[in-house]
Amino acid sequence: MLVHIDGPWSPLLGRLALSEIPYKNPILVGTFVFAMLVGVVLVGLATYLGAWRTLWRDWLTSVDHKKIGIMYILIGLVMLFRGFIDAVMMRTQQALAVGPRSSGYLHALHGYLTPYHFGQIYTAHGTIMILFAATPLLVGIMNILVPLQIGARDMAYPYLNAVSLWLTAAGAALVMASLFIGNFAHAGWFGIVPVMELPYSPGVGVDYWMWAFQLSSIGTTLGGINLLATIVKMRAPGMTWGRLPIFTWASLSANLISLTTFPVLTVTLALLALDRYVGTHFYTAGLGGNLMLYNDLFWIWGHPEVYFVILPAFGMISEIIPTFSEKPLFGYLGMVLASLGIAGVSWGVWLHHFFTMAAAPAVNAFFSITTMVVGIPTGVKVFNWAFTMFRGRLRFELPMMWASAALFLLLVGGLTGMMNAFATNDYMVHNSVFVVAHFHMMLLLIVYAIFGGVNYWFPKVFGFRLEQRYGKMFFWLFTAGTAVVFIPMFTLGFMGMTRRLDYVAFPQWGPLLDIEVAGIAIYALSVVFLLAQLYVSFRDRAQNRAGLDAWETSRNLEWMTHSPVPFYNFAVTPEIHARDERAWRVEHGVDTVRPERYEDIHMPRNTALPLGLGLLSFGLAFGLVWRIWWLASVCAAMIVVLIVIRSFDNDTDYTIPAQDVERMERDIRDVPSGRPVTGDVAGGVPAFREGV
């Protein structure tokens, strides 16, 4: 039943052999040494600080939505770094490999990367940035914020939340493992058919890509279910739909997308797996298969996915702008409808990713129009932001700088998107770097919103504000990098440069490619300032302690609990009176009122099972990639066993008695200004976790 694989295979190791370890490649060896050094330093540090116990008890086995969120964000940042390195390599390769006389290094004919390696790098870059950087960063932020914004103690399913996290982590680990064991796919992040079919990609690369994608897709589906259930079911009393904070609305619409479209991806990849493992012909060019089936199915997920990542970004911008305009958000209802509208339209536009692949003119026209319709709700949003700022008292602190710069990227990205949306235009630019520049504007918008959001909510989560001087330098350098890389890229797109070139045949493109390298260098420089910002913030954290409301003009519920947020979120579940609850309480002078009495708090208990499930699914995927059948079967069986064990566990939660809550709340020192400041908390999230 299984397809026959050329090359060696053994029952014990499957296709794995020493020759699959790329120990002769200096770049990969260097990376390996670097990764090992970082690993050794981290392990050493944890041991030296005696942090293993905390690490295990407070993080790895935690089901606290804030910590899970932070771990998501850490995964996202690590992968963002990896994806950035891939980008540096692509830029430098293209700049070096211009014209027939350009010299080659490291066995490459031109530049220093062979086509074999270059293909893996662009595939890894796209896959990582969309699935393992942007998605975890946003899911992490939603994880932290949504329960706080609706006054819940945790997610609806805290255990499931941890499972989603560790599945995503397993996927990310699989991508990383492919660096040092075997190789990665070279068929593009979206999988070019039939290149990723077995006859054209007989190695393990596509299998790595496919299973990593699959793991993260399952994790995100589960996460989406969880966030939806949380928003629908866990709102504090008085939190009607009309009072829901706007970021929560954005998360709701985003997760409607993930709930409805990620399953399509799961099926798409499962069919590919059948093709590659048991020899079916879903996506082959003959024998009843159909290439277009893959494109169709992939983009039914693929386009909604891009809106899944942009909606939370819009949500963050919608929270930041009112705070720093010192005004309520303009057009709340319009914003809500626009978010839901974007989610709705996103289901009906996917074909614009393959306008050039022979659909009937009427079909192309239909999808052109639906694609342009997205501009309407997006436009509504932009105008609402502009009117929020209009006549506001604008304060350009860091979060506001990131948020307002994001609007410019939205403009460029949106307009170029509209240009692609004309099927006729798209015949010109499809597969060119113009498209690449378009979606990088959009994805950078998300990155900007994330940096804005991180600066904005950091004090809520960690109890101290991030320093702003280095932060601003980081902002300006990053923005300069964006301009210097992507303006030439748009230009090259107009000059007809196609995507994914490992060798550039036209010398006249050289200078612009050189400018792009300069831009990448500016990006790299900016990272230094980011690190400086983080270091200085941490060093001076005592001066930058934040009160309940770190920015003094915040409006939402999350700013009503302590910073850092205690593990139980709110000592007493708040009663909601208005849309901007915190602003309402400040206005009515009741923002510092302390509760009269405390009640028992019901909390979920830690568990190591999700971590185990993550490890096992990594093992399962690794076994499948290398066709080590015993490993895959053992892991699959163990996963089932763990799930069964968990379902018989009735001791999944505990209660914090009211006196304990009261004592912990008393320990939080009140500062005369009426802004309570957490005591001598070391600046870690959880501060006072007790009574477990």
Partner: protein
């Protein structure tokens, strides 16, 4: 943390199911077995095969939606209705627009002409290739 009961038998979904799950499961197996048989046995001509298994798939989806997911317009189970409101447009969009795209695609791409004719594959390929550039 929504946590009303530890006993799965007491969940309302389970209590209301009344055997529907088993019926849906068996029906699903039968329908899948049937389509597998049609495909593996080359029982029908290519185009008819496509139509037949699409119809079976539609039936299977319907059975799952009604018997497993309980999509209906009852007032007591409002979320079932919401799910239905989400399901119908999505179904029309995803399946409908895809079929629209595929309809007419073969003529333009010359891919797999065999799907259009009822003769055995080899002969059909020759025939299809000749009339393909339509």
């Amino acid at each position: 943390m929504t946590h009303t009961t530890d006993n799965a038998w007491q969940h309302p979904e389970v209590q209301l199911a009344s055997g529907g799950y088993v019926v849906a499961y068996v029906a699903g197996l039968v329908l899948m077995g049937l389509s597998l048989w049609i495909v593996r046995g080359h029982v029908l001509a290519p185009m008819e095969t496509g139509i037949a298994i699409s119809a079976l798939a539609g039936l299977a989806a319907l059975i799952q939606c009604v018997l497993l997911l309980h999509l209906n317009i009852s007032e007591t189970q409002i979320w079932h209705t919401v799910a239905l409101i989400l399901f119908i447009p999505l179904f029309i969009l995803a399946i409908g627009l895809s079929s629209w795209m595929f309809h007419g695609l073969y003529r333009r791409t010359m891919l797999m002409p065999a799907a259009h004719v009822s003769a055995p594959a080899t002969g059909a390929q020759a025939a299809g290739a000749m009339k393909a550039p339509g």
